[in-house]
Every structure is written in structure tokens, then in C-alpha cells.
């Protein structure tokens, strides 16, 4: 029975199916939990949060059915479902990343047909808490369709909901994979950065439109818009059941066809970028040798933005961090997010009022805003907190390379102050632009002090809070070149940690909101000096106190940010 090792079987003895991928994913997830009580706790916490959202979504989608009122059924199905697809499309890019429990690169050497691989990875991607939550939520639509149109409508709605869910997952995988491929190549990274910015920027106008639409009392016209959305891939899967319930039986097969075609297109797109992801991991290609070295080693280390920093331990840390914020795709993606969200969220919040609505035939027009100092301060609070929360896992970005700092015996305070400084080299100019732009757009140049002061205060407070979070709550990021990848289990941890950091930062910055509410016009002048002093003081105090903590647990921090292999 001695079969020569070189005689490969003509056909695999047992074909690999999607089932194997799902089992592999469950096994990997399970092994990650082993002996890590806090991970289990975080996972359960995340699952509960997901269930809560699922339940509220369910009742929202089921409301027309429960009320027995079919006027708004189409609107809720199209708008709610459309937002879901959009969320799956954009949120991984902007905030959360995708779960890469099963990293496609690991399958590069296995003799698997691409179709098997895509179907398998896709099926495995379906095994996740968010997918379950969306499934529960959207079954509200099935209930609505059944209540309004009987069992046939309910059945069509169920098929539609499942198809819609598949569409969501396929969209998020295809888009992140494509962007990861683009960001990986140094040549097109700037182009990709711009594209990502544009995609994320779509969030802004859409939300403004949404807010305006909510204020619009003419629901019938919105239903018209909804039925248009219902014929796009965004709304088609969700509205098919409602169509049957409302007597347009012919529409259902067409909408399901639209969904299936969109799904097939997305999977084909994903499959193409998957190929390059797999090959790219094996060899990123030799970068061309760039010559033209000028100056000594020290002069080369310091980038132009950090050229003023003194040439010592602190300076070296600042210079290296400043280089990393630009050269590391993962960090650069974060900077782009801050830039885009930092502009749009304040504009949305402040124009969300009565001034910015669809009026008559003119459509959307920029009217006088009904903004107030408190609202402005609140929107600045959000931007400042969002910018600083990027540092919540700043040591995770470094991974095991942080060992160099441990070996060199860098003290915690210097470390944290340098990291804040380097990050601020990029972020402070952005925040200044946000502050000026917002007050100009609002037509209140006199509020520059208010916007800038609030931003400085919240940003500084956020830096302080995130120093602690980054030292105490660090987690490892996978060593892949996909800037959107996360370790399994880390998804929930990352979400909760980010949330905690943001809430705490906001609480620390609340005095600025109180001052804006109580002090009236005087605050317009005081905000800038007071806010700047508050922010700077908070950041320095944070680095001072968190630096002590860091000194005591440097090796432990190194261990937590080192990826397990």
C-alpha cells in the first residue's frame, strides 16, 4: 500500500465545501476564547448590544404591519433597508473594519478553485453577530408583509430579506477588499485615499437629505421617493414583499432579479480583488531602490513637519510617529476619516435645523441656520472626541515593533507626550480648518473663537483619556497589509473600547458646553484662550498620569500588542 508521495490523486477524495469554512471559522473563534475570560465577556456584551439593536430594528420594521397601516410600509422598507445596505457598505471603511478571522491569504497555497474559496469565505462571513442582528431586525419586514398581504407576501418578504442580507455582506466584503488592495499598493495609495474620502463624504449629503426628509411633512412624496429607491439594489430586496402585499405581484420577481444580479456582480468583484489579496500577501513585490540620499541619518529621520523638534529622545519619537502616520496605511486611513467626518458632521448637525429643508420646487437650499453656541460646541465636541479616539489603540498600531522602545527604556511620559505631539502635527491643522470653515459656513465669522476653543478643549481632553485607554486597553492588530482587518473577537472589544473612550472624553469636555450655555456672549471671546488652556492642560496631565501607569506595565503592554501566531 506504499503509494509514492509524488503521485497526486487525480481528483480530491473529498470536495471542500462552504461547510468546512464555517466550521473553521467557528473553531478559530472558539480557540481565541480559550482561557481568555474577558474575551468571552466582551463577546457576550457585544452580542447583547447587537440583540438590543436587532429588537429595536425589528419593531421599527414591523410597525406598519402591527399597526395594520400600509401607507408607510413601502417608505420604511425602502428607506430602512437602503440605510442598512449603505451602512454595511460604508461603516467598515470608516469605523469598524472587517472581521478577518479567515484571512484569504492563508488559503493561497491550497488547491482550491476560486469559486469554492469565494463561496466558502462568503458563507463564513455570514456567521457573525451583526448578520444575526440584521436578520432579526429585518424579519420585522416579513411580519409587516404577512400582516398586510397574507402568507404569500410574507413568503416573498422572507426571501427578499435573506437576499438583502446576502447583498449587505457581499457589499461590505467587496468594497473593503477592493480598497485594501488599492491602499496596499504604494503607487495608487494617494488615489485610493481620495476615493475613500469621496465615498465617506457621501455620508454627509445623504444624512442631510435624510434629516431634511424627516422634517418634510409631505409623506406621500417621500413614498414616491421610496418606491424609486425600491427599484435600486439598495431597496429592491426589502420592498419585494411589500409590493406583493400591495397588489403589485409582478414587481416581486423583478426586484428579486435585481438583487440577485447585484449580488452576483459584487461577488465577482470581490473574487477578483481576493486574488490580488492572496498573491499580495505572499510577495508585496520589491520596491524600487530609491537613491538620492541627502544628509546624515538623523536629518533623514526628521520629516519636514517635524523639522523643528529637537534632536533627542523626544524628537526621535515624534519624528518616527510623524513618519508612521503617513507611511502606515492603517494610520493614514484613520487620518482621512478624521478629515472627512470632521467637516461633514458639524455641517450636518448645525444645518439639520429648520433652515436646511426641501422647500417647494427649489429642492434643497442652504438657508439661514438656526444654530446656537451650544449646538456649535456640541458638534465641535464630537469632532474633537472623534479625532482623539484614533489614539485609543496607538500601541496596537506598532505591534511588536514597540519592543524597540521597551529595550531602549523610554519613560512613559516622554513616550505619550511625543505620540500626542506627532499626531497633533497632522490633526491640529485639520481641526483649525474645521473651526474656521464651520464659522464661515454658518455665516458667523465671530464664532471662530468659539469653534476653535471648543475643539482645542475636547481634543486635549480626548488625548488625555485616550492615553489611559491606549495603555490599559490595548489590543493587537493582525499583521496583514489590509488596513481594515481586525482580529476576530477584537471587533467587539474595539467597539466597546472606542465607545468608552469617546463617552469619557465627552464627559471630560462637558464644562465647555456648560460654559457655552451659561456665559452668553462673553464666552464667544473667552472660549479660545480658556479652551486652549483647558485642552493643553488636560493633555499634559493625561500624559503625566498615564505615563506612570505605562512605566509600570511596559512589558505587559508589549505582550498585549504582539499578535499571537
Amino acid at each position: 500500500m506504499a503509494l509514492p508521495v509524488t503521485a497526486a490523486p487525480a481528483a480530491p477524495v473529498r470536495a471542500v465545501s462552504a461547510r468546512h469554512f464555517v466550521r473553521l471559522k467557528l473553531r478559530v473563534m472558539g480557540n481565541n476564547f480559550r482561557g481568555q475570560g474577558w474575551r468571552v465577556a466582551l463577546f457576550i456584551g457585544g452580542a447583547l448590544v447587537g440583540l438590543w439593536f436587532a429588537a429595536s430594528g425589528f419593531f421599527l420594521f414591523a410597525a406598519p404591519g402591527l399597526a395594520g397601516d400600509d401607507r408607510y410600509a413601502m417608505l420604511i422598507a425602502a428607506a430602512g433597508g437602503g440605510l442598512l445596505v449603505l451602512g454595511w457598505l460604508l461603516l467598515p471603511l470608516v469605523f469598524f473594519g472587517v472581521d478577518e478571522t479567515l484571512d484569504p491569504a492563508r488559503f493561497a497555497l491550497l488547491p482550491l478553485p476560486r469559486r469554492t474559496l469565494v463561496v466558502g469565505l462568503f458563507t463564513a462571513a455570514l456567521v457573525s453577530v451583526p448578520v444575526l442582528a440584521v436578520l432579526i431586525a429585518t424579519f420585522g419586514l416579513v411580519l409587516t408583509a404577512w400582516a398586510l398581504g397574507g402568507w404569500s407576501a410574507g413568503l416573498v418578504a422572507a426571501v427578499g430579506v435573506v437576499a438583502g442580507l446576502l447583498l449587505c455582506v457581499a457589499a461590505s466584503r467587496a468594497v473593503t477588499s477592493a480598497f485594501a488592495t488599492m491602499l496596499r499598493s504604494r503607487r495608487v495609495r494617494d488615489l485610493a485615499a481620495v476615493l475613500l474620502a469621496v465615498v465617506a463624504a457621501l455620508l454627509g449629503p445623504l444624512q442631510i437629505f435624510g434629516l431634511a426628509a424627516l422634517r418634510e411633512t409631505d409623506w406621500d412624496r417621500l413614498t414616491g421617493v421610496a418606491s424609486v429607491i425600491g427599484w435600486t439594489p439598495f431597496g429592491a430586496p426589502w420592498t419585494a414583499g411589500i409590493d406583493v402585499a400591495q397588489g403589485r405581484v409582478w414587481a416581486a420577481p423583478l426586484k428579486l432579479l435585481i438583487t440577485v444580479v447585484a449580488l452576483a456582480a459584487l461577488l465577482a468583484w470581490w473574487s477578483r480583488s481576493l486574488e490580488s489579496a492572496m498573491v499580495g500577501a505572499a510577495s508585496t513585490g520589491r520596491a524600487p531602490v530609491r537613491r538620492g540620499v541627502t544628509g546624515g541619518a538623523v536629518a533623514q529621520l526628521f520629516p519636514r513637519v517635524a523639522s523643528w523638534v529637537r534632536r533627542d529622545q523626544f524628537g526621535a519619537l515624534v519624528a518616527r510617529e510623524a513618519r508612521y502616520w503617513w507611511r502606515d496605511a492603517r494610520r493614514r486611513a484613520n487620518l482621512i476619516t478624521i478629515a472627512v467626518v470632521g467637516i461633514f458632521v458639524p455641517v450636518m448637525l448645525n444645518f439639520g435645523g429648520a433652515g436646511f429643508v426641501a422647500e417647494g420646487e427649489q429642492g434643497l437650499t442652504l438657508g439661514a441656520s438656526d444654530s446656537s453656541p451650544v449646538l456649535v460646541t456640541l458638534s465641535m465636541l464630537f469632532v474633537g472626541v472623534l479625532a482623539s479616539v484614533t489614539l485609543a489603540n496607538q500601541f496596537g498600531f506598532d505591534g511588536s515593533a514597540y519592543a524597540a522602545n521597551v529595550v531602549a527604556g523610554v519613560t512613559g511620559r516622554v513616550e505619550l507626550r511625543a505620540r500626542m505631539t506627532a499626531f497633533s502635527l497632522y490633526v491640529l491643522p485639520m481641526l483649525a480648518v474645521v473651526a474656521v470653515a464651520l464659522s464661515v459656513v454658518l455665516g458667523r465669522p465671530g464664532w471662530i473663537g468659539l469653534t476653535a476653543g471648543s475643539l482645542a478643549a475636547t481634543y486635549g481632553a480626548g488625548l488625555a483619556v485616550n492615553s489611559f485607554v491606549s495603555v490599559l486597553g490595548a489590543y493587537s492588530l493582525p499583521e496583514t497589509s489590509n488596513p481594515f482587518a481586525m482580529n476576530s473577537g477584537a471587533g467587539v472589544a474595539k467597539g466597546l473600547l472606542t465607545l468608552l473612550a469617546m463617552v469619557t472624553s465627552a464627559v471630560v469636555a462637558v464644562p465647555m458646553v456648560v460654559a457655552a450655555a451659561l456665559l452668553g456672549d462673553a464666552w464667544l471671546w473667552l472660549a479660545l484662550p480658556v479652551g486652549t488652556a483647558y485642552g493643553l492642560g488636560a493633555a499634559l496631565l493625561g500624559a503625566y498620569l498615564a505615563g506612570d501607569v505605562l512605566d509600570r506595565r511596559q512589558p505587559e503592554l508589549l505582550a498585549t500588542v504582539t499578535p499571537r501566531r
Partner: protein, 254 residues
């Protein structure tokens, strides 16, 4: 002042991970000026031991001294005397070679002019000058080892701790690394390195310790450990390797 202290002294170092014991109480004295080889099969605990010795991994028990300074009580002084090249740890690899050296030099509190001068020399000697503006992430495995060694040497440490310096290195680079280490030791420095390449250890080391299953099995000068046999024979005997009987894996040979 530190003449009477060993370059590196380990007492009862122990570490367990998730219930498995990685290192079970290691005692070791590395005399100043020696060339010390830490031998062991894969998974013997070499990396864990060295990480605890240089302050990268907190031991569950035991302590480590560098020239009489406690690594865990007085880390600043101890780390100043140490040059370390860990294995399986990334460098800050999105810097160029020169930038990485400048970073490490300044991090050690060195004078910028000295950093410039030494970096240029090191890059030249290690044949990394041609890489120019190439990022370390794009270096080959051998180049990464060499730049790692340069980072460890830059500040002129008294004790050099290297984890697997000859792993994945081509013969030309290996010879270069050997020459540099020999010169460093001849100048009064102490080198401690882990390896499982017997030939290199036999050629370079004045002292060896064989580590297996988290404990030191043999220790002493190379002649004491080796006796009248080859180091490889002693190593295999101590570690207790198995030899294939020929019955299993028959499908490998037609």
C-alpha cells in the same frame, strides 16, 4: 566597578503561559568578555529566557542582572548597558535603514553627530548603504537581521544579547555578522546569543549552555560541555531526539 560582576546573571527565571511551563527556573552566569552560546531545540524556551533577561517579558519568578544591575528593579541603568536584537519581533520597518538607526540612536540619548557618523559606518560595513531610501519592510530576511544587529550595536553596549542572529541568513551575511561579533568580543564586549546551528556555536563560542524543556541541561566552557565528542552528539543526546526506525513514513520512499 563592575569588574567582579558577571556580564549577565540569571537566577531562578521562570515563566508559564496559559498553564504550560515555558521556562522552569533558569540559573546562568555569563562571564564578562565571554562569547556565550545558548543552545536548544525549537520550543526549548530560548526566546522566553532571553526576553526575560533583557526586560521585554516580565518573569513569574526569578531575577536578572546586567553587570550587577537588576533588570527589573533598575531597568534604566541595566538597559543602557544592553544591546538587544530580539527574534520574531518587528522592527519599526516603515523607516529606511538610516532612519531606523537614527531613531534608535536618539532613543538611547546619543549625540546626533555621533549617530550620523556611526550609522554611516555601520550601513557601509554591513553592505546596507546600497539600499538607499528602501524601507526596511522591503528588505530581504538577511538584510533585516543585519539592520537589527546594527541597531543593537549602535550605542556601543557592554553586553550584546542576540536571539537567533544566524537564522535565515545567507553564508555571506553570516560571515559578516560573525566577523563583527568577533571584533566586538575582542574589544571587551560580551555576546550572548541563542542558536541551534551547532557549527556556528562551535566555531565562535567560549561558553555554551544547552536548554531543553525550560531547564538548563548542560553548562560550561565549550570544552567542558563537549568533552571529546562533537557538540552535535552531546546536544542530540541531552535533548533526547528520536531516530527514525524505517517502519513509519514508508510512503516517502517508493
Amino acid at each position: 566597578m563592575t569588574g567582579e560582576h558577571p556580564a549577565l546573571a540569571l537566577r531562578g527565571l521562570a515563566k508559564r503561559f496559559d498553564g504550560t511551563i515555558a521556562v522552569a527556573g533558569v540559573d546562568l552566569d555569563v562571564p564578562a568578555g565571554s562569547f556565550y552560546g545558548l543552545l536548544g531545540p525549537n520550543g526549548a524556551g530560548k526566546t522566553t529566557t532571553l526576553s526575560m533577561a533583557v526586560g521585554l517579558l516580565r518573569p513569574d519568578a526569578g531575577s536578572a542582572w546586567v553587570l550587577g544591575h537588576d533588570v527589573w528593579r533598575d531597568p534604566v541603568t541595566a538597559k543602557r548597558l544592553l544591546g538587544v536584537m530580539p527574534d520574531g519581533v518587528r522592527l519599526f520597518d516603515r523607516l529606511t535603514g538610516a532612519e531606523l538607526l537614527a531613531y534608535n540612536g536618539l532613543l538611547r540619548g546619543m549625540d546626533p553627530a555621533v549617530v550620523d557618523q556611526r550609522s554611516a559606518e555601520l550601513l557601509d560595513v554591513l553592505a546596507l548603504g546600497d539600499a538607499g531610501r528602501t524601507l526596511v519592510v522591503d528588505y530581504s530576511a538577511g538584510m533585516k537581521k543585519k539592520i537589527g544587529l546594527a541597531c543593537a550595536l549602535l550605542h556601543g553596549p557592554r553586553v550584546l544579547v542576540l536571539d537567533e542572529p544566524f537564522e535565515a541568513v545567507d553564508p555571506v551575511s553570516a560571515a559578516l555578522i560573525r566577523d563583527i561579533l568577533t571584533r566586538y568580543a575582542a574589544g571587551g564586549g560580551t555576546v550572548v546569543f541563542s542558536s541551534h546551528v551547532m557549527e556556528v556555536v562551535e566555531r565562535l563560542c567560549s561558553h555554551v549552555a544547552i536548554l531543553a524543556g525550560g531547564i538548563i541541561k548542560r553548562v560550561g566552557t565549550i570544552d567542558e560541555v563537549r568533552g571529546d565528542r562533537s557538540l552535535e552528539q552531546v546536544f542530540v543526546e541531552v535533548v533526547g531526539g528520536r531516530t527514525a526506525t524505517g517502519e513509519e513514513l514508508s510512503w516517502l520512499s517508493r
